[in-house]
C-alpha cells in the first residue's frame, strides 16, 4: 500500500532478512480493550495450522475492564511455538508487541535481552506515559538500548487502512489488533485465510466491521511485505514440527475437561448432571457444558458451592454421573458435603481449578496449593481418590479417568487442574470415542432373599457398594451421614462396626491402586543420581529442564504423577532407586509431604509461589545445584 512508503521509520531500501529458527516466543501485550486475547488466539490457530508445535499463556488482569492505559489493566498473551516439541509457553519472549506504555512497562522485564520490541508510537502520548509512570518516553530516551526496537504509528496505520469504511474513530482503532496480527502473520510467513474465515463468522451480518477488520489485517500484512524497513523487522522461518499423523485442533484445559466429562458420561452410558457456582478460573467448564444439552448434560447454577455439591450428591443418588467444579475457596466450602459423599459412598467427580491462595488470594493467577486440601481437607478419616491433569489436552483423559474411578468404586473423586492449564491452549490430536474402553454402569435391582436391601452390599473385588436408584420397586432403603451397619445399612454406633466401616472405606480407596497404571518414567532411566518428581501443570517446565540437563550429559530422570491418591503401587520402589529426589511445586511443598510420608524418601522441595508458572531455567538451576551437592 502507498501508505507504507510514507512510513517515517521506514527507509533506506535494504531488503528484509529472513532467519531460520527452531522456536520462537512472542508476547502480545496491550490494554484490556485492545483485544490481545483474540489476537493471540488467532495467531495460535495460524501457528497450529502451519504445523508448529506450540503452547500458550494468556495472562489477563483481575479487573473486568480496568480504566484505559493503566498498568493493572494490561492484558497479555504469550505463545511459544517451534519445529520441535514445545512443552511450555516459554521462559522469555523473543518478540514483545506493546500496544501502549503500560504494556511495555509491565512486560519488558520478561523480554529476552536483544529481543524485539514492536511498539505503537501512536499510543505513547504524555497521558499514557504518565499512567504507566514513565517520566520520559522509553521509545526515545534510549532506555530500550538492550533490545531491538521497532516503533511506528500502528494506530495511524490502522486508521488509514480502514478509512474507506468511514467508521468512528473508536471503532476504527478497535481494528488495531487485526492490523498487528496481520503484521505478525507476515513475520512468520503465515496464511491469512483462516483468520479471515474466522472474522467472517465473528462479525457475521455486520458487514462494515467485518470488512474493516479484514482490511486492517491485510494492511498489517502488506505493511511487512512492502515496507522496506531497515533494522530489526525480520521474517522468521520455522519448519513444521514432527507430529503423529491425524486430525488436530488446539484446545484449552477448560474445554478439554468439559469434553472429557462428556466422554466419561458416554462411556458410562449415564446422563451427566453438573452442578456449579461461578468462580475464576473454574467457570469456563460450566460455561462450556451449558451449551451441550444434546449430549444429555444438565447444568445447574446453584446458589453457592455447598448447594452445587449438594445437588450433585442428590443427582448421584438418583443415578446420574454427577460432577461439581470450583476453585480453592469454593472447594473449602464443599468439604463437609464431600464427607457425606464419602460416607454414603456415592460417585462424584469434584474438579478443583486451582488459583493463587490462601483465601481469595490471586483469583486470576495459577498455583498448585490445594493438594493438601484435596487429600486431607475433610473431617474424620475420609479417604478420597485424587488425580491431576498435567496439560490442557491431558485434561480430556484425566476427566475420563476420574469418571471411571468414581463409578467403578462408588466414591467421590477429586480432579485437580489449575488456572494455567484451564486457559492455556495446545495442539491436540483429536481422539475417537472408540479409542476408549467403556465402563458401563449396572444399577442394582435384584430383590434380596431377606426381603431387606443392605445398601452397603459390596462387590468383594472392589468393595464398591450397590447403586440402587430411587424408583426401583421393592428396594426402598435409607442412607445418610451417620455411621451405618456394615451388615444392614441401619444406623449403628457400635465400636466394632465403626472400626469395620472405617477400615472398609480405607481399603476400598487403597484398592483403587489396583486398577490404575503403574508409574512410568517420563524421561531418563529408572534409576540414577537424581529424579525430578512433579504433578500437574509443572509438567512442561520439568520435562524441558530435565531434557536440557540430559543434553548436558547429566543422568537425570523425570517422573510425573497423575494419580495423587492412591499412588501407583510401584511408585515407592521406583523412587527408592534414585539417589536424590527433587520435587518442584507451585506451593510450599505439598506433594513432598505425601512422598515422604508414604515412602520415607528424602524428597527435597523446590517451591515457587508467585502466581506464575515455573521457568525452565529455574528448575534446571535447581537440578544442577542438587547434582553438585
Amino acid at each position: 500500500m502507498a501508505t507504507a512508503a510514507k512510513e517515517p521509520s521506514a527507509g533506506n531500501g535494504a531488503r528484509v532478512e529472513t532467519v531460520q529458527r527452531e522456536s520462537v516466543v512472542v508476547r502480545f501485550a496491550g490494554d484490556s480493550g485492545d483485544g490481545m486475547q483474540l489476537t493471540g488466539g488467532q495467531f495460535t490457530l495460524s501457528t497450529a495450522l502451519a504445523g508448529n508445535d506450540l503452547a500458550t499463556f494468556p495472562d489477563f488482569p483481575a479487573e473486568i475492564r480496568a480504566p484505559q492505559g493503566t498498568m493493572f489493566g494490561v492484558s497479555a498473551f504469550q505463545i511459544h511455538f517451534g519445529s520441535s516439541r514445545i512443552d511450555t509457553a516459554g521462559d522469555q519472549p523473543d518478540v514483545l508487541v506493546a500496544m501502549n506504555p503500560a504494556a511495555l512497562k509491565t512486560n519488558l522485564p520478561s523480554l529476552r535481552k536483544g529481543g524485539l520490541v514492536i511498539a505503537d508510537t501512536g499510543e505513547f502520548g504524555t497521558r499514557n506515559l504518565q499512567k504507566a509512570h514513565y517520566a520520559a518516553n522509553p521509545l526515545e530516551d534510549g532506555s530500550l538500548a538492550p533490545y531491538q526496537l521497532l516503533a511506528f504509528d500502528i494506530s495511524k496505520q490502522t486508521l488509514e487502512s480502514v478509512k474507506e469504511f468511514g467508521l468512528g474513530n473508536k471503532d476504527a482503532l478497535r481494528c488495531k489488533n487485526m492490523w498487528t496480527l496481520g503484521l505478525a502473520l507476515w513475520m512468520f510467513g503465515r496464511k491469512r485465510a483462516p483468520v479471515i474465515d474466522w472474522l467472517k463468522v465473528k462479525f457475521g451480518s455486520n458487514e462494515l466491521l467485518r470488512e474493516a477488520n479484514i482490511a486492517a489485517l491485510n494492511a498489517g500484512h502488506a505493511y511487512g511485505e512492502t515496507a522496506e524497513l531497515s533494522g530489526p523487522l525480520k521474517q522468521f522461518r520455522l519448519e513444521p514440527a514432527e507430529a503423529e499423523p491425524g486430525l488436530y485442533r488446539t484446545i484449552t484445559g477448560a474445554d478439554a475437561l468439559a469434553l472429557g466429562l462428556v466422554a466419561g458420561a458416554k462411556l458410562s452410558g449415564l446422563p451427566m448432571f453438573f452442578g456449579g457456582y461461578p468462580i475464576t478460573p473454574a467457570s469456563a467448564i460450566l460455561h462450556a457444558l451449558a451449551r451441550l444439552r444434546e449430549f444429555d448434560v444438565t447444568t445447574f447454577q446453584a446458589e453457592d458451592e455447598i448447594a452445587a455439591i449438594g445437588a450433585t450428591i442428590g443427582a448421584a443418588y438418583a443415578g446420574n454421573l454427577a460432577v461439581t467444579s470450583s476453585s480453592g475457596p469454593g472447594i473449602a466450602l464443599k468439604s463437609e458435603a464431600m464427607g457425606l459423599a464419602v460416607m454414603t459412598e456415592l460417585p462424584l467427580v469434584i474438579i478443583n481449578s486451582q488459583r493463587g491462595g490462601p483465601s481469595t488470594g490471586l483469583p486470576t493467577k495459577t498455583e498448585q496449593s490445594d493438594l493438601y486440601q484435596a487429600v486431607y481437607g475433610r473431617n474424620g478419616d475420609c479417604p478420597m481418590p485424587v488425580i491431576a491433569a498435567r496439560s490442557p489436552s491431558d485434561c480430556f483423559d484425566v476427566a475420563i479417568e476420574a469418571c471411571r474411578i468414581a463409578l467403578e468404586y462408588m466414591t467421590p473423586v477429586m480432579l485437580l487442574t489449575d488456572g494455567y492449564i484451564a486457559n492455556a491452549a495446545e495442539p491436540w490430536k483429536v481422539p475417537e470415542a472408540h479409542d476408549y474402553t467403556p465402563f458401563p454402569v449396572h444399577f442394582h435391582e435384584d430383590m434380596p432373599e431377606s426381603g431387606k436391601l443392605n445398601p452397603y452390599l459390596r462387590d468383594p473385588e472392589t468393595l464398591k457398594r450397590v447403586w440402587v436408584k430411587p424408583g426401583t420397586p421393592g428396594l426402598m432403603h435409607r442412607i445418610g451421614g451417620i455411621e451405618k451397619s456394615y451388615d444392614t445399612g441401619n444406623i449403628d454406633y457400635s465400636d466394632t462396626n465403626h472400626q469395620k466401616m472405617t477400615d472398609t472405606r480405607k481399603a476400598k480407596i487403597d484398592g483403587v491402586a489396583r486398577t490404575i497404571p503403574l508409574q512410568a518414567v517420563e524421561v531418563g532411566n529408572d534409576h540414577g543420581p537424581l529424579v525430578v518428581v512433579g504433578w500437574g501443570s509443572t509438567y512442561g517446565p520439568i520435562r524441558q529442564a530435565v531434557e536440557h540437563v540430559r543434553n548436558q550429559g547429566h543422568d537425570v530422570a523425570h517422573i510425573h504423577i497423575r494419580h495423587i491418591w492412591p499412588m501407583p503401587s510401584n511408585l515407592g520402589a521406583l523412587l527408592k532407586v534414585y539417589d536424590k529426589v527433587l520435587v518442584p511445586e507451585m506451593n510450599t511443598g505439598q506433594l513432598k509431604t505425601l512422598l515422604r510420608d508414604q515412602f520415607l524418601v528424602d524428597a527435597k522441595p523446590l517451591n515457587k509461589v508467585s502466581g506464575q508458572p515455573f521457568r525452565i531455567a529455574e528448575i534446571e538451576a535447581a537440578i544442577l545445584g542438587m547434582l553438585n551437592q
Binding site: 474466522w198 448432571f273 455447598i306 448447594a307 449438594g310 470415542a433 430411587p470 420397586p473 426402598m476 435409607r478
Partner: protein, 341 residues
C-alpha cells in the same frame, strides 16, 4: 406431577412404616406427624418406591428412617440442595423435604430461599418446635424473644423469623401452616401440598416435650381452639370462634381487625383469596392472642416449577439436534497431519 388418584388407595398406612425402631422421646410431637403422614400417603395414591424423603439433621430429620420409602438423611441444612439434584435427575419421583426450624431456617435458610424461589416441585415439611432439640435445647431462629436456653440463660434477644413470612418473601407459591396434633386438618394440608405443582411450604407447629414443652399450648389446646385458631378456606369468609368472629380489613389503616359477626352478617368479613399475597402476609403477621393463629393454606398461586421449566427448555433447545460426539470433538478449526511426513 402429583394428582391425587380417586381410585381406592393401593397401599395401607402400614406399607409406609419401615422396620426401624422410632427413637424420639416418648410424647414428642414428631410421632403425631409421622402417623399423619403414614395415614395420608395411601390416600394420595403415592407409591413407596417412587417416593423420596430427604432431610437434614435434627430430631425431625430422623423422620425418613421411619418411612418405608427411599430416604436420605443428609447433613445439617442441606436437604433442599440434595432434593434439587434428585428431582432434576429424575422428575418422576415424589420428593419430600423434612426439616426443622434450625435445620431449615438457621443453617439452611439460604437453600430454603432458593428452593422456594426456583419453585422446585416438592413438599417441604418444616417441623417448628422453636428449639434445637437434638443438640439439647438451645434457642432457635423461631424461638420467641426472651427464650431461656443453655445459650441464652438470660433470655434470647433476637426477634424470631416467621417461617411462612420468610417463604412468602422468598417468592413461595404455596404456603401453609398446621399443627402436629391436628390429625384431622393435617392430612388435608398434606394433600393440598402434594397436589400443588411447585414448592409446597408447610410449617408444622411441633411440640418438643423435653426442651420446649407447651410453647404452642395457648393456641393448640383443643379446648380453646375455636377462638385461638382460624382455619382458612379459599373463597370463604375468614371466620372463627364458630362463626361468631371474623377478620375485617380496616379501609383507613389498611390493617386487619377482629370483628364480631352479628346474626350471621359476614359483610364486614374479608373472604380468603389464596392468591392474594399481601393479605396472606397480614394473616401471617397477626399477633397472638389479639388475633387467632391462621392455619391451613394461607397462600397458593401456582407457577411453572423449576424442574418442568428445565424439561421444557431441554426439549426446545435440543430439538432434533443429534448428539454426535466425534463431531463435537472436532468442532472449530482443525488441521490434518498427513501420514507421509
Amino acid at each position: 406431577m402429583n394428582e391425587v388418584t380417586k381410585i381406592a388407595p393401593a397401599t395401607k398406612p402400614d406399607d409406609w412404616a419401615s422396620d426401624q425402631e422410632v427413637r424420639w422421646c416418648p410424647g414428642c410431637g414428631d410421632y403425631a406427624i409421622l402417623k399423619a403422614v403414614q395415614r395420608t400417603m395411601p390416600e394420595l395414591g403415592a407409591e413407596p418406591h417412587n417416593t423420596v424423603f430427604i432431610s437434614g439433621i435434627g430430631c425431625s430429620s430422623r423422620f425418613p428412617y421411619y418411612l418405608e420409602t427411599y430416604g436420605f438423611h443428609t447433613i445439617h441444612g442441606r436437604a433442599p440442595t440434595i432434593a434439587t439434584g434428585v428431582k432434576l435427575a429424575n422428575p418422576e419421583l415424589d420428593v419430600w423435604i423434612i426439616t426443622g426450624d434450625g435445620d431449615g431456617l438457621s443453617i439452611g435458610g439460604n437453600h430454603m430461599l432458593h428452593l422456594v424461589r426456583r419453585n422446585l416441585d416438592c413438599q417441604v415439611l418444616l417441623f417448628n418446635n422453636e428449639i434445637y432439640g437434638l443438640t439439647k435445647g438451645q434457642y432457635s431462629p423461631t424461638s420467641r424473644t426472651g427464650t431461656r436456653s443453655p445459650t441464652s440463660p438470660a433470655g434470647s434477644l433476637e426477634r424470631p423469623v416467621k417461617p411462612c413470612a420468610f417463604a412468602l418473601g422468598a417468592g413461595g407459591r404455596f404456603v401453609a401452616r398446621t399443627i402436629d396434633t391436628a390429625q384431622k386438618h393435617m392430612p388435608e394440608v398434606l394433600k393440598r401440598a402434594y397436589t400443588h405443582k411447585g414448592t409446597s411450604f408447610v410449617e408444622i407447629y411441633q411440640n418438643c416435650v423435653v426442651y420446649n414443652d407447651g410453647v404452642f399450648e395457648q393456641f393448640t389446646d383443643k379446648k380453646s381452639a375455636a377462638t385461638t385458631q382460624i382455619w382458612l378456606e379459599d373463597g370463604k369468609p375468614m371466620l372463627f370462634a364458630n362463626g361468631s368472629k371474623g377478620l375485617h380489613l380496616n379501609r383507613e389503616t389498611l390493617r386487619l381487625e377482629v370483628v364480631d359477626v352479628v346474626d350471621g352478617d359476614t359483610s364486614e368479613v374479608i373472604v380468603h383469596d389464596e392468591t392474594n399475597k399481601a393479605v396472606a402476609s397480614m394473616l401471617i403477621d397477626m399477633p397472638f392472642p389479639e388475633f387467632p393463629v391462621a392455619l391451613g393454606v394461607l397462600y397458593c398461586d401456582p407457577a411453572t416449577s423449576f424442574d418442568q421449566a428445565m424439561e421444557e427448555q431441554e426439549v426446545k433447545v435440543v430439538g432434533d439436534k443429534v448428539a454426535d460426539f466425534n463431531a463435537l470433538l472436532r468442532r472449530g478449526q482443525s488441521w490434518e497431519v498427513k501420514g507421509e511426513r
